[in-house]
């Protein structure tokens, strides 16, 4: 008796016979991944805003157009300019920082990132340590209180320091209280994917900045901006340890792309990702299980062999975009492989089980 209108239950993933306490729900993996990713994101946004607000102090008396030229690339780097111009007319220090800090309409504002991270933590409260939840919850309660805006208004720097501290505290607590298990891998992947992506975007900001004039290249403004790029990636001091000379654009790019020792460089993040990916897949090193993982492996190997000159010759902006694409596809692959399950059509399921029950009676 088959009716072609009858809904057919969707095929599910294969059955495993695991009976051990290490199994992890896909939903949980997804929540851990995003919790970690959003915390990392909030920290990066906080640093970016803090640095640029301070940078602005060096450039008094900017007109509207100049302000816009400064802030627009930062908005672009977060990919939210459309939402921004729906809410604000002018892109200046006030509006951009408010938008990236407090606006809940912006899913990537600091407040949205941390609220989402906390909601994800609530979903997996049974999986994370009490200390981790408490650290994140404290941050949430702070942001929910009136106090948050007061701190921000009386001194934005203190506010962003506080946000960075919450992120560092959370990561430190995670390192010292969380079991090294599958969940830890998902959190790491979320963190390092986000960090690598944000480093590409911070580096790319200079591409978007329309220089005031050719004469300024290599001038005071240019140097200050490159210094701000380094500070936005928390890399200024690390950079200085390697390069005693002035801050040179090429050296900055090289450092933020290739350093194997600085933990926020693209290469260092990808090396960590590589380890975590292999832990998850259980494959041998240098074995990759999908086109997305292979593309990732290829990029990592490029980072091992390319030089900054080669990248510059073929275009830094294009290269960074290429990295972002590989990371995006990796994110999608991880979702498909570990977190996604075919949706269940409730009506089809009900029908299926009613039939099975009748057959048994």
């Amino acid at each position: 008796m088959s009716d072609f209108n009858t809904p057919v239950p969707t095929a599910q993933k294969p059955i495993s016979d695991r009976r051990d306490s290490q199994v992890m729900l896909s939903r949980v993996a997804n929540s851990l991944y995003w919790m970690s990713r959003y915390i990392e994101r909030s920290e990066n946004v906080a640093r970016l805003l803090d640095v640029n607000l301070q940078l602005m102090l060096d450039f008094a008396d900017l007109n509207d157009q100049q302000l816009k030229e400064h802030w627009l690339p930062i908005l672009c780097s977060a990919g939210d300019e459309e939402t921004f111009f729906r809410l604000y007319e002018r892109a200046d220090s006030e509006s951009v920082t408010e938008f990236l800090t407090f606006r809940e309409e912006n899913p990537n504002s600091i407040i949205s990132c941390l609220f989402t991270a906390r909601e994800n933590a609530r979903q997996v409260r049974d999986q994370i340590s009490l200390e981790m939840f408490e650290a994140l919850n404290e941050c949430y309660l702070f942001l929910k209180s009136k106090n948050a805006r007061e701190v921000w208004q009386s001194g934005a720097h203190e506010f962003y320091e506080q946000i960075k501290k919450y992120s560092h505290l959370f990561q430190g607590i995670t390192a010292s209280t969380f079991t090294r298990s599958e969940g830890y891998e998902f959190m790491n992947i979320g963190k390092f994917l986000e960090r690598a992506d944000k480093t590409t975007r911070i580096l790319d900001i200079k591409y978007h900045i329309l220089l005031p004039s050719i004469a300024d290249v290599g001038g005071a403004v240019d140097a200050a901006q490159w210094q701000a790029i380094l500070r936005s990636a928390s890399a200024l001091e690390a950079y200085r340890k390697f390069h005693v000379e002035d801050i040179l654009p090429k050296k900055v790019a090289e450092f933020l792309i290739f350093s194997t020792t600085f933990p926020r460089s693209i290469r260092a993040c990808m090396q960590r990702l590589d380890e975590d990916l292999h832990c998850l897949s259980g494959k041998e090193r240098r074995e990759y299980r999908s086109p997305e993982e292979r593309a990732f492996g290829k990029l990592l190997s490029d980072l091992n062999f390319l030089t900054i000159d080669e990248i510059q010759n073929s275009g830094l902006h294009q290269f960074l975009q290429g990295v972002q694409t590989v990371l995006d596809r990796l994110d999608d692959h991880i979702y498909q492989e570990y977190m996604y399950h075919p949706p269940v059509d409730i009506q089809a399921e009900i029908l299926l089980h009613q039939q099975q029950m009748q057959q048994q009676q």
Partner: protein, 481 residues
């Protein structure tokens, strides 16, 4: 000092035998309260509240789109029960749950208790939560109620009475555990010197119970045990996550589970993984849209089929609700006599059934003096408190009772015992009840103490958290003082 001004008034007071005499088991607390001043109390209370808020020991307020989370108000003065008194309570609770499990087995099999006319059959067969489709079905180890939270109150003379059996998904055990942890932090010296029986075993015992009832087909393999929650928006979500964490088991929602060939699987990062035992914190009606409410999105299609096929165990079993129907409650003392041949150790509150003609006449004539409850409501809803009700409320209940007498019972108001409770500036008497937690597995255990709920509003008898109730830590001493 603060406690010297306390006025027990004309109630049974847990702490004071009369205005000047402290009961012996409260001796140490009285000494400590003697030296407690307002400032110290405020400091301790703030510290406790902040700790609850920070660690998210909260419930979600319904009908609030802000998703507001509140802490369950916690009163610092613990409620104390001497050991000998507790032993009697424990015996009474075990007696009661034993009889209730026998009753459930009986009515889903031979229905002897109905045939012997101890309970008129129509009360059971017509009960809202009687699951006819589970007649003849065998649950693992014949245990229907694995987890029970029984509400006890004390009358004017201090006698313990059973007010309600909560046999479906009783909640609050996490607060019992969190309250204890908070009190130990607030009064470490007092706690140590008082010699209190610990409660920390609850989660471990619960896990043992869940493993004990794993499907027989599994043999000696370790079962995959999970806790099933309606989700993060449920007001008791904190408790679900808390218990899952304490037991080290995954917490799942309906959408994490799928049934294939009458077996339940969870959707994991390694594909579908079998589930053997489900501690479900979700009512029968929402378990499986195939069988119960088709509109339920919380449940899992096919779950009941898997359960009936013996491939998955549920705690509590399906169909226990018939035994905590407030009309069936009336018959529990008779069940104890019928199945165990014993006198009930813990009596019921005197109850009248609106569907019995004689009782109904009495109820209708005395509506203004009685407490009327609907048979299947919980959380303090669907209740008429006659002596405090308006004329309109009384008439509305009169109509409802006339229309559907099976749905109502009435009880004499019991003026619940009172307990010194902090009320802003000092201690005042507030009404309390006690919900001990009983676990039924290889053996039946009762965690010493339980959750003491306190009606924080002056004069109120309603202790439910949804209606202005708070809670206290509950101490069972190793001795009697």
């Amino acid at each position: 000092m603060l406690i010297d001004r306390y006025e027990p008034e004309d109630f049974f007071d847990e702490m004071f035998a009369d205005k000047v005499t402290v009961r012996p088991h409260y001796g140490r607390i009285a000494e400590r309260l003697q030296i407690l001043d307002q400032a110290e109390h405020r400091r301790k209370q703030t510290a406790v509240d902040l700790a609850f808020m920070r660690s998210g020991v909260t419930f979600t307020v319904y009908n609030d789109d802000q998703g507001t989370e509140r802490i369950f108000p916690f009163d610092l003065v613990p409620r104390v029960i001497p050991d000998s008194e507790w032993r009697r309570i424990e015996k009474g609770l075990i007696q009661r749950i034993t009889a209730l499990n026998l009753f459930l087995h009986d009515i889903y099999h031979d229905q002897k208790i109905l045939k012997d006319r101890v309970i008129p059959p129509h009360y059971i067969l017509g009960a809202k939560h009687f699951r006819r489709e589970f007649m003849g079905f065998n649950v693992p180890k014949d245990i229907y109620i694995h987890i029970c939270g029984t509400d006890l109150i004390r009358d004017r003379d201090g006698n313990y009475l059973v007010l309600e059996d909560n046999l479906r998904c009783p909640s609050g055990a996490s607060y019992m555990l969190e309250n204890r942890a908070a009190l130990k932090r607030a009064f470490p010296d007092l706690y140590r010197s008082a010699r209190v029986q610990p409660v920390d075993n609850y989660a471990a015992e619960l896990r043992k119970v869940l493993q004990y009832v794993s499907p027989p087909s599994l043999g000696t393999s370790q079962p995959n045990v999970v806790l099933m929650t309606p989700g993060v928006f449920n007001s008791a979500y904190f408790e679900h996550a808390f218990l899952a964490r304490q037991m080290g088991i995954p917490i799942v929602e309906g959408r994490d589970l799928v049934v294939r060939d009458a077996k339940v699987y969870m959707r994991t990062t390694s594909g579908l993984v079998p589930v053997d035992v489900i501690y479900r914190r979700i009512d029968d009606d929402f378990l499986d849209p195939t069988v119960f409410r088709p509109d339920s999105l919380l449940g899992v299609p096919g779950l009941v089929h898997a359960y009936r096929s013996g491939n998955v165990s549920l705690a509590n079993s399906i169909g226990t609700g018939v035994a905590d129907d407030k009309v069936v409650y009336y018959f529990v003392p008779k069940m104890i006599k019928y199945y165990l041949g014993e006198e009930p150790i813990l009596p019921n509150v005197g109850t009248f059934l609106a569907s019995e003609p004689e009782d109904r006449v009495f109820i209708m004539e005395n509506l203004g003096k009685l407490v009327v409850k609907s048979a299947n409501e919980a959380g303090g809803y669907g209740m008429l408190m006659g002596p405090w009700a308006s004329r309109e409320e009384i008439e509305s209940f009169r109509e409802q009772i006339r229309a559907n007498p099976r749905n109502f019972i009435a009880q004499h108001p019991i003026s619940l015992s009172r307990h010194p409770t902090w009320c802003g500036e000092g201690f005042e008497g507030r009404h309390v009840d006690l919900r001990p937690y009983i676990l039924c597995g290889e053996k039946t255990t009762v965690t010493p103490g339980g959750l003491t709920r306190v009606a924080l509003r002056k004069g109120s008898l309603v202790v439910n958290s949804s209606q202005g109730g708070g809670s206290k830590d509950s101490w069972v001493l190793y001795g009697d003082s």
